[in-house]
């Protein structure tokens, strides 16, 4: 039985090595994408640019006079833009990380091949 188990283990060991690239671009990539989604959603919840644009014409801090309303629209728009940019940068960073996940192993392999084929 032990021989069978060792045989199986050897097979699994080889399978594990061979499965590495397949896993990286299937289950692994899926987990990274889900993680990226969660990270973006969390920061979206934090910055909430949608909430700012939704309340664009709602006066801030209860300032319902004309000046207050006007200033509020500008402030909200500025906030919306600033927060959207921050969210966009964050999204780009996170997507960049996902892309790195995709590209890096290929780059490493190509780099190694390139170094060896002189």
């Amino acid at each position: 039985m032990w021989i069978l188990a060792i045989q199986r283990l050897c097979f699994e060991f080889i399978f594990d090595i061979l499965f590495f690239p397949f896993w990286w671009y299937s289950a692994g990539l899926l987990r990274v994408v889900i993680w990226a989604q969660q990270m973006i959603a969390r920061v979206n919840q934090q910055f909430a640019p949608g909430l700012w644009i939704k309340n664009l014409f709602v006066p801030m801090f209860g300032q319902t006079d004309r000046q207050g309303r006007l200033m509020s629209v500008f402030m909200r728009f500025a906030n919306f833009v600033g927060r959207s940019i921050a969210l966009f940068i964050w999204t780009v960073l996170v997507i960049g990380l996902v892309l790195l996940w995709v590209i890096l192993p290929i780059l490493f392999v190509l780099g190694a091949i390139d170094a060896l084929t002189i």
Partner: protein
């Protein structure tokens, strides 16, 4: 709002069919085992074609469930080896990466130095490893090692992520369908299984935690080591005992794990041969029942706790052993619930902290439409902020009430008042609401708001009623403007009841106007008394919806203690057993009526923790006896386990009582039996321990017997509350018994029993009281409770009530003289004599009506002996001895015997014939230390 309560659902929503003492056998789950592969998943070297590796399956809830882990020697050995392989691969990848970078450095070292030099000349940037020239211009095969090293890091990530996959989740049991029990479906063959859609085929082992899977592996290894042909429930149980969580459970139950393991292992019989064990039917049932346990409890995974419950539920043998060591179904489920509550609280705490990071710390909503409230902030506390920083304690077992509050808010009512007694957990409910507000699982009207509690003392400080009203109006303006504030007012009745010229405040009108304006949502609390007095008839009542907060049930209170025990354990460095918590709740319910559950029980366990630390040191398990001892000290009620001495004393209670009471065997026996029943708790707990009516002429020992009981059982005559009923001859005197209306502590009886709940109540000369007065005792005798003039319920369940009466004395004496049978005397007494004084329903309420017989000459002689023993003791203190001859006793008996007055003349006889003479002897100095004074009747008293 739907299932808003889901993330907070604690034990209160659990199914309650396990709250019985006896273990219940798991209901049989119809499973389809694969006959082809014998549930091994393989035929020879190949996978099973019949079951496709499902091995055993069941159908339920439109799904088919299977256990995808083959329980065979080969598979489990492979599983163990696989874990080793993972470690090997991790180490291998680490070594590979390290070596690759090392080779890279080793092979490219000279080139790097050269490249750095050239780089300095041509590129003017980079240095060493970061040399641009090296990476762009130089072709060196050593670079391949660097890239291989990076691939090695990818390999490490791959290996780590693959072996750290979170278990799948058990499906969520739908809420509000608790009552629906689904009918089990029976699978006929494997074709039916294959007909299920792929996403309805659930491998339950994927929802097992690694600990639970490891326990099953250990169980198999154990069965294999025993050469057992079957993997049995007992193997699973013993294997579970090795897991830390299960060990913790049995430690909480006060059971040594090693002893339990040894006891279960006794049943294992080592067999010859080398057959690989196969799981028997019980184990298959356990595997599926563990999943069902998790499903029922809405646990996300199948932990060892679920496996434990399923195992115990499946094996009568284990149930028998557990029952023998005093672990029953209720206790086991109670401790498992404790583990679950702790896990859930931990998860919830982290969720709240995480959610709190998105909430403003400055009291502004996300859209910044809110306005700052500086004036309000001055008089209030922001509960949302406090909760975000973890300053609130968890709210447990109050999901029903919180859901009700949310329903009211959703329905559009403006304000809510929680009405309940002190200590029922009104504040805890508010804190539970705050926690849900932070996590945003509240009705829309409450989302993105903050809960602010007004400090009534700050509001009233240094101002008049009109000043406070002005403050309140100012705050209301701020709140209306801010639009993100929910107001919380604890004990709202404190703000009522005053007037312009009286102390206190009356802002009912102001508050109700504010609430009606629709700008403020108020969550208030009030005691029942406060609500009835100040709110129910004010304008506020119509502006607020009342939610009654009832006192918790025992199992809910235990859950609260389980949630709070962690902090108390941490503070005092002791550990609570489950029994200690259950006992705290039980004693709190029985003996501390001034406060409600769970507050009363929380106070007990806090005190017990401190007591245990001081008496037995740190790191010890708080037992039920510790709780009993502290409760006993606080109340004077014996609650500890019976010691051998006490048991012996109780068994010979009659002998002890007869040292003071002569004759009256029926009375003594009745009382002794009642005391034994009370101590061993073989009695109804919602009535007094016993209530007797002693009938008989004066001097026969009625009061003496009551005093003896107080001495023997209650620890002293000072524990006797004596009420002379001749003082209550008119109806107005009832207020002396239960107190003047509205004046606290003025009832002689109620206050005495409140102070001494464990006592003997002697109602002397009962027949002399007004019949209306006697009526209040009907309720005392029946329910063991009496409400005093201020509405407090006084508990009589730990008292013995003895009423004495001379009613029918003349009849008893004449009947005895005529040598009538005692049973006939009793019948006549009941049917004729007693009816003149007491109503039949009153007499019926007594546990026993005992007729004291008139004393005979011999009895009197015996009593004289007892009384003279006191004289002997007094002389002994003076260093002298005292002796009475038989003749002396007979003479005294003749002097002191009067059938009409019982033993009372004897006291006078002893005074006249013995004590007076002794006093004269002592005054004359005729007796000195060491001499004996004798009374022999014929010569009177003399010095021997």
């Amino acid at each position: 709002m739907g299932d808003i309560a889901n993330p907070f659902c604690f034990g209160s929503n659990r199914r309650v069919d396990h709250l019985t003492m006896d273990f219940q056998k798991n209901p049989n789950i119809p499973v389809l085992p694969c006959q082809t592969c014998q549930m091994t998943g393989a035929v020879g070297m190949k996978g099973c074609h019949t079951c496709k590796g499902y091995m055993v399956a069941r159908a339920a809830r439109d799904n088919v469930y299977f256990f995808g882990m083959a329980l065979t020697r080969h598979h489990l050995a492979l599983q163990r080896a696989r874990r080793g392989l993972y470690v090997f691969e991790m180490i291998g990848a680490l070594i590979f990466t390290g070596l690759a970078f090392l080779f890279f450095w080793w092979t490219t070292r000279p080139t790097l130095s050269m490249a750095t030099a050239i780089d300095g000349l041509q590129y003017s940037s980079g240095h060493g490893f970061f040399s641009s020239y090296f990476w762009i211009e130089v072709d060196h095969p050593g670079k391949a090692f660097f890239f291989l090293g990076l691939l090695g890091i990818c390999g490490l990530i791959y290996r780590y992520m693959r072996s750290h996959t979170a278990p799948a989740e058990v499906e969520m049991r739908p809420y509000r369908q608790d009552a629906v029990k689904e009918k089990e479906k029976v699978l006929g063959d494997w074709k039916q299984v294959k007909n299920f859609p792929h996403n309805s085929q659930i491998d339950i082992v994927k929802a097992y935690t690694s600990g639970a899977k490891l326990s099953i592996e250990r169980a198999y290894a154990l069965a294999d080591a025993q050469n057992s042909s079957q993997l049995q429930a007992e193997h699973v149980f013993v294997a579970l005992l090795e897991h830390m969580d299960v060990k913790g459970i049995f430690i909480r139950l006060g059971i040594p794990v090693k002893l339990l393991s040894a006891k279960i292992s006794e049943g294992f019989v080592a067999q010859k041969g080398n057959r690989a064990p196969l799981p028997n039917d019980d184990v298959i049932q356990i595997l599926f029942h563990a999943y069902e346990q998790a499903y029922d409890a809405r646990e996300p995974q199948v932990h060892v706790t679920e496996l434990l419950l399923a195992t115990v539920g499946q094996s009568s043998h284990i149930q028998g052993i557990l029952y023998d060591i005093e672990v029953d179904n209720e206790k086991l489920y109670g401790v498992v619930e404790w583990v679950r509550i702790r896990n859930k609280l931990r998860r919830q705490y982290h969720a709240t902290l995480r959610a709190g990071s998105h909430v403003s710390k400055h009291g502004i909503d996300k859209a910044m439409t809110a306005v700052a409230t500086p004036f309000l902030n001055h008089f209030s506390t922001d509960l949302t902020l406090a909760s975000m920083y973890g300053h609130h304690e968890p709210c447990v077992a109050r999901d029903k009430e919180i859901d009700e509050i949310f329903r009211i808010v959703e329905a559009g009512r403006q304000s809510i008042v929680l009405v309940g007694e002190h200590g029922v957990g009104k504040r805890s409910i508010i804190e539970g609401i705050v926690e849900r507000m932070i996590q945003d699982v509240v009705p829309k009207r409450m989302q993105d708001k903050r809960l602010v509690q007004i400090s009534t003392s700050a509001l009233l400080a240094g101002t008049t009623v009109s000043g406070a009203q002005e403050r309140l109006l100012h705050m209301a303006q701020e709140i209306a403007k801010a639009k993100n504030i929910i107001l919380c007012i604890h004990n709202i009745s404190d703000l009522m009841g005053g007037s312009a010229d009286a102390p206190g405040l009356d802002v009912a009108g102001t508050l109700s106007d504010l609430m009606r304006s629709g700008n403020i949502l108020v969550l208030a609390t009030s005691t029942v008394d406060g609500f009835n007095k100040h709110i129910s008839r004010s304008r506020l009542a119509s502006a607020m919806t009342r939610v009654n907060i009832k006192e918790m049930e025992t199992d809910q209170a235990i859950q609260v203690l389980q949630a709070k025990a962690g902090y108390i354990e941490y503070t005092h460095n002791v550990f609570f057993s489950y029994n200690s918590l259950a006992a705290a709740v039980e004693y709190a319910k029985r003996f501390f009526h001034d406060q409600c559950l769970p507050q009363s029980a929380i106070e007990i366990i806090s005190e017990v923790a401190s007591y245990t630390k001081n008496t037995r040191g740190e790191h010890v398990l708080v037992s039920q006896d510790d709780v009993a001892r502290v409760t006993g000290e606080k109340t004077g009620i014996p609650t500890t386990s019976l010691t051998e001495n006490e048991a012996d004393k109780l068994l010979h209670l009659e002998d002890e009582m007869h040292k003071r009471v002569v004759g009256q065997f029926e009375a003594v026996n009745s009382v002794a039996n009642a005391l034994r029943r009370a101590r061993m708790q073989v009695r109804s707990l919602d009535r007094p321990m016993a209530n007797f009516l002693f009938l008989g002429s004066t001097g026969v020992g009625k009061t003496e017997l009551a005093k003896t009981i107080a001495e023997v059982y209650f620890g002293g005559e000072e524990q006797m509350i004596r009420v002379d009923m001749s003082e209550y001859q008119n109806t107005d005197s009832i207020y002396r018994l239960i107190g003047q209306p509205g004046k606290q502590g003025t009832g002689l009886l109620t206050e005495a029993v409140r102070q001494k709940p464990f006592s003997l109540v002697l109602l002397d000369e009962l027949e002399k009281a007004h019949p209306r007065i006697l009526d209040i005792f009907l309720q005392v005798f029946d329910d063991g409770r009496l409400t005093d003039s201020v509405g407090r319920v006084i508990d009589f369940t730990n008292t013995i009530i003895i009423a004495t009466s001379n009613a029918g004395t003349a009849f008893i004496q004449s009947a005895i003289r005529e040598h009538k049978n005692m049973e006939d005397i009793r019948k006549t007494l009941f049917s004729q004599e007693l009816k003149q004084h007491f109503r039949p329903e009153f007499i019926n309420r007594f546990d026993g009506v005992v007729v004291f017989k008139p004393l005979l000459l011999d009895d009197i002689k015996h009593i004289a002996g007892i009384m003279l023993a006191r004289v002997e003791a007094e002389l002994d203190e003076k260093g002298m001895k005292f002796r009475v001859t038989e003749e002396g006793l007979s003479t005294l008996a003749q002097h002191g015997y009067d059938p009409e007055y019982g033993a009372r003349p004897m006291r006078r006889a002893i005074q006249d014939h013995v004590e007076n003479a002794i006093a004269e002897i002592l005054l004359r100095g005729e007796a000195s230390r060491g001499e004996t004074i004798v009374y022999d009747g014929e010569h009177g008293v003399y010095v021997e």
